[in-house]
Amino acid sequence: MLTDEERKEIDEEIGKYRRKRGAGPEALKIVQKHRGWVSDENLQDVARYLGMTDDELDSVATCYNLIFRKPVGRHVILVCDSVACWIMGYEPLLRHMEHRLGIKLGQTTGDGRFTLLPVACLGACDKAPVMMVDDELYVDLSPTRIDEILDRYQ
């Protein structure tokens, strides 16, 4: 069941588009903001609310990189793996992070603290290598800087 708050936020989005389904990606992000990820049940609720079939909405949900259809950790680390970051040292940084967290790309730490995901070019190539943790962008990364940053997230 969608909460009243979720419905209210989704209604606001629906007003921006000529058809209800235009609000689909935003509605999924609203659910994800409140619940961390989008379960099958949540997806069905949103689909019904927007007058879509589950499959229609899931086809949209699964094409986006940032709609999570599986549970993720409390914080999501998005490591840019595109060309400028790759040239500036993405591979050793990733190895450092995987070693520190004890997980590979696509996995979540046992304590549910971090999920580690690759992401396409974050548009900060002048300060490569870069990553995002949740909504925050971090630039000019080095192994020590990564350690400092990750310590801030519990």
Binding site: K16, Y17, R18, R19, K20, R21, G22, A23, G24, P25, E26, L28, K29, L50, M52, S59, V60, C63, Y64, N65, L66, I67, D81, S82, V83, A84, W86, I87, M88, V119, A120, C121, L122, G123, A124, C125, D126, K127, A128, M132, D135, E136, L137
Partner: protein
């Protein structure tokens, strides 16, 4: 150049803290909108055509011409739409971020004037999810424009009304493709559409829709205020205006500069970027993002505008340069690029869906030392198989450009990988 010669970045401070709307107005902001509202749509379209403003998203299509295709007056089906393509996701590209973070009011004013030029009733700014700071600043700029009567019903007392919304995407390269963007706004998968009809006549929800890149429209207020001749005078070639050029990789200074359109490639590399970092040697570069082909030192005299770059066999693209140095493997670099494109292919048409993973896997085999001489032939074949005309949209044709360039300029590196059964850089 003086600040008046920089239509795009004149208000942008080094720390990118933007002017608030009162400061923006004091600096001459929203005067172009006042002037535009006194003009007819036809006059504005003609001015932009005379200015020879070409699309800065990468394709270089003349903006005035695009607008002239939008059905006008009573003939047009309403509502009509305008969409700002702010889904900056081309690897190596970080120019629109500067405008949206540094001068969000300029982006909003530009979108209003551009919407007026095609009589749009609703405008969307299609922003990529990762640009959180841009989202906050654009939201504020839109809200303040409504408060001051620059948006909404009867703008500044005129008969023109416009609604503007910020759409935050959820991350997919295909959303930056014009039709992908329209499908995404309609809540569908971002896949291309059959053309014709083009979006300018049958776009969002079947209605006429003009789609333009952020940097493109940011030139429009200057053209309105100063006229097409002044705009053309900013450029070193016949393509009007200035251009945001940027650079990344192992050079001394990595950032964005607003320079006259047609600035020589070598000037950007040597004078502005300061050349290579100590200890690194230049090998090549992609002049305008991941979907452009490699260039080398012999191209440093070439002008960085659309027509001159086409003559080199590459493209201007987004004008943001990515530098390859001697300590980076060219095969590895192309593998990284093709990995991106293979992952971002929407899967709609077969050459792209099947071809890009094949290219990616072949490059990976070569990079890991498992490649054969036939593999290099397979790569060559794909630069033809995935070219323009064989696919629905420009994703795959763009994807094979750096591959084609690497095969042409660094053939010995591919051969060495195959012969030595390993990557010489690892």
């Amino acid at each position: 150049m003086t600040s008046t010669d920089k239509p795009l970045t004149k208000n942008i401070r080094p720390d990118r803290e933007p002017l608030d709307i009162a400061e923006y107005e004091k600096a001459g902001g929203y005067q172009a909108l006042r002037k535009a509202l006194q003009m007819s749509q036809k006059e504005i379209q003609q001015m932009v055509t005379d200015a020879n403003l070409k699309g800065r998203g990468g394709a270089g299509f003349p903006t005035g011409k695009k607008w002239s295709f939008v059905p006008m007056g009573d003939q047009a089906r309403r509502p009509k739409f305008f969409a700002v393509n702010a889904d900056e996701m081309e690897p190596g590209t970080f120019k629109d971020r500067l405008l949206m973070e540094g001068d969000p009011n300029l982006v909003v004013e530009s979108a209003i004037i551009s919407s007026y030029a095609v009589e749009a009733d609703v405008a969307y700014i299609f922003l990529r999810w990762a640009y959180k700071l841009s989202a906050r600043r654009l939201t504020k700029a839109i809200d303040q424009a409504y408060e001051r009567g620059y948006l909404g019903k009867n703008i500044l007392g005129s008969s023109y009304s416009l609604k503007m919304y910020l759409h935050l995407s959820a991350g997919r390269y295909m959303c930056g493709e014009e039709d992908g963007l329209l499908n995404a706004l309609e809540g569908k998968r971002p896949i291309p559409r059959t053309k014709p009809p083009h979006a300018v006549t049958v776009g969002l929800w079947g209605r006429p829709t003009a789609v333009n890149n952020v940097e493109t429209i940011a030139n429009v207020p200057y053209i309105i205020s100063h006229g097409p001749q002044a705009f053309k005078a900013l450029s070193l070639t016949d393509e009007g205006g200035t251009k945001l050029y940027g650079i990344s990789g192992r050079v001394k200074r990595t950032r964005i500069w607003e320079l006259p359109m047609g600035t020589a490639l070598g000037d950007i590399f040597h004078e502005h970027a300061g050349g290579m970092l100590d200890g690194y040697t230049f090998r090549g570069l992609l002049p305008g993002g991941a979907s452009t082909s490699f260039l080398r030192e012999e191209h440093f005299n070439a002008k960085m505008d659309f027509s001159s770059m086409d003559k080199t066999g590459s493209r201007l693209g987004t004008g943001t340069i990515i530098v390859l140095d001697d300590k980076t493997c060219p095969v590895g670099m192309v593998l990284n690029l093709e990995q991106f494109f293979a992952r971002e292919s929407c899967g709609w048409c077969t050459p792209c869906r099947e071809g890009l993973p094949w290219v990616r896997n072949t490059l990976e085999a070569i990079e890991r030392g498992n490649g054969t001489p036939e593999d290099i032939g397979i790569l060559h074949e794909h630069t033809w198989l995935l070219q323009l005309g064989h696919t629905f949209c420009a994703l795959a044709p763009g994807a094979v450009m750096p591959l084609e360039g690497a095969l042409k300029y660094f053939p010995e590196d591919f051969e060495n990988h195959v012969r030595q059964h390993r990557c010489p850089w690892r």
